[in-house]
Symmetry: C2
């Protein structure tokens, strides 16, 4: 068989699923087959889609169809339009995986830094990273922003990100956020030898993204936050492939609930927020944790984590399971996602600490340090007042969305 | 109240929907309200989201939330991330409409040509337009492509589009399709005085789209086909806003079934494929007809048609309800979508005509000419052999998806 992409679907059960799938494989490639002559068949052979397998199930059948690479350019818009452009209209038709032949995969960049590169930059190798989300910046000015950043750094944060709904605005303009944060991060490094990354929200019109990101890099930005699904995966890839940007990218999954969170159709999270986000060049993939109020299922979250780290030609990508995270959840996060590629990310879990964000950050760091050593939080809290206070507030019980 | 955008959602019923909605309105804007002082409330007032109304329903409640424009830049990625970025993760949360204050709306372009401009270009004012899709070009070369185009023109076609899954390829390269078609279309115009548009599939990487489209325009392309949802609505808008392109855009809805075709979540088709496609600058919106095998419901199709033509600051946009269209459906199409903004689009309904595509095109033209005059197809078939043969093959019965 030729080179190409194999799509794995879940289709509603159908008595003649094999036959139906063969019609799709033709319809989405050469169109027709039996009513054309032998010579034409020879000519069209390398363009013809093939049903690889049909596995019957109770409510859904799992169907694999192979699409030759001769039919599309090696970009996700072309590939997704081919394999799912039309089938997306059929109720209950899920696209759960894509398997790319290496010749196709090698035309994608993967992350520029990945887990390895980020850990080298931050010089942190033996524990999950800790990320914070600025809180309540909307409507406030740069002094408010600066104060939060100072507090987080004092507490020992590794990464700080904008809220994904903080866009260009008069009070905290994009470039000002970059230069203000750079001043604070540089001074912090000089004083403590501790580096941190600030992911500024790269937003605006598609056509302005590159210029903005390049200028941000020139001004000393050290990371970008990007709402991938507001633009499309290929826009992420284009940022990754621009060598004038050269910054780690936190790929935010906002809006992906439409695409992957549907009960009977759409993409799987592991494909969209895991595999394709990695291929396209995210260094971090931020998605709802299975524990908070904005939750995806634990199975989905674990599958994303696996897709971001499983063996393939690309560097591993950090999982950033987010929303509703407090220090009492750290052992569970470690158990679910492992230490190496995990970022523990909190907003309310830091700023809502009874003693404020400095202590809130310290509570997380204490929880992380204990957990990687296998020390229980209760035991660690005996020697960490911030952690004790956090546990008094939020407890240590974790319930995941099934 | 300040200037902004009002989102209309359908949320699963909830005993305290009002309270819950107010939490969202805060959470997606200033974050918190009751626990901040009066001075801060004054400062944050113009950024605060507001619940406009909650209308209780049986399975779903209709909730309207207002988001101040002060919080986002006037682009769809920022607006959609604000109003649906997080809420998209909640099961069964539908975004069915967005209402934009004029100050926001005026920052969007709408179509460059629209129904009016296209009709002036084609000099066709008194009937729906007829579009054909090239058939089976994948794996075939330019002579095959040319022959189909010649046949369609001979039959009296107004518009021809690439199949949306025809991408850059060696046999029919993008620029060659443009120049080949231009030669044929120019000659046809010289000989007959009849203009037609050919929409070439603008595909590839996001960052290459503009250069490709500009070059295509220079080479004499007269329309573009664009898989909007493979890239995002803002990518469509950026093409519309580029004055070096200056070509009508056929916005194809491939992949939008994921976003809008879900039984319990996602966007409404009228918002996604109707209102926002029009705002962003599509001249034509191509979507599944309610009659074919790749069908959306008749209600959804009609709602799209309405959103493309209802009174607003933008030019009207053509509806192109597609898939499974044959000449016998023309009266139903006219009844459902009206003559003015309708494009009748066929692939198999033209190429599958028993006497081939020239006669297939003529059959449609005869059906259209009769229908706008209120003459029945049976009556028209008495004086049109191509139409008679089409009706013998496909009949005139139409059943829509409910």
């Amino acid at each position: 068989m030729s080179i190409g992409v194999t799509a794995t679907y879940r289709f509603p059960t159908h008595p003649e699923q094999q036959k139906q799938a063969e019609q799709y494989a033709l319809g989405l490639t050469v169109g027709s087959w039996t009513d054309i002559g032998h010579l034409e068949q020879e000519q069209l052979k390398k363009h013809k889609g093939e049903v690889i397998s049909v596995e019957k199930g109770e409510e859904k059948d799992t169907v694999k169809i192979f699409y030759p690479a001769a039919n599309f350019s090696a970009d996700l818009p072309a590939i997704l339009t081919t394999v799912y452009g039309k089938l997306s209209f059929f109720e209950g038709y899920e696209l759960i995986d894509l398997t790319f032949d290496n010749e196709v995969l090698s035309q994608f960049p993967g992350p520029r830094f990945g887990v390895k590169g980020i850990r080298e930059t931050l010089e942190v190798h033996d524990r999950p990273l800790l990320m914070a989300i600025f809180k309540g910046v909307m409507g406030r000015d740069l002094s408010f922003f600066s104060e939060q950043l100072e507090d987080l750094l004092e507490g020992g944060i590794d990464l700080i990100k904008d809220d994904e709904i903080l866009f260009e605005n008069d009070l905290t303009p994009f470039y000002k956020r970059v230069t203000t944060a750079k001043g604070i991060l540089d001074r912090h490094y000089e004083q403590t030898g501790h580096r941190a990354l600030y992911a500024v929200n790269l937003s605006g019109k598609t056509n302005e993204l590159h210029e903005k990101a390049e200028r941000a890099a020139e001004l000393g930005a050290n990371a970008l936050l990007f709402n991938v699904h507001a633009y499309g995966l290929d826009a992420l890839q284009s940022l990754r492939e621009n060598n004038n940007i050269n910054l780690p990218i936190v790929a935010h999954s906002a809006l992906s609930g439409v695409l992957a969170g549907q009960p009977v159709g759409g993409y799987s999270y592991s494909l969209l927020v895991g595999k394709m986000t990695r291929m396209a060049g995210g260094d971090f993939s931020l998605y709802p944790s299975p524990y908070g109020n904005v939750a995806i299922s634990r199975n989905d979250a674990l599958a994303i984590g696996q897709a971001l780290t499983e063996e393939n030609p690309f560097e591993k990508v950090f999982s950033v399971p987010s929303a509703g995270i407090h220090p009492g959840m750290v052992p569970q996060l470690l158990e679910d996602f492992g230490s190496e590629s995990l970022v523990i990310n909190a907003g309310g879990g830091i700023f809502g600490h009874p003693d404020g964000p400095v202590q809130g950050t310290k509570a997380f760091r204490a929880a992380i340090d204990a957990s990687v050593k296998g020390i229980s939080l209760e035991e660690a809290a005996a020697t960490s007042e911030p952690l004790k206070r956090a546990i008094d507030q939020w407890g240590t019980a974790v319930s995941a969305k099934g």
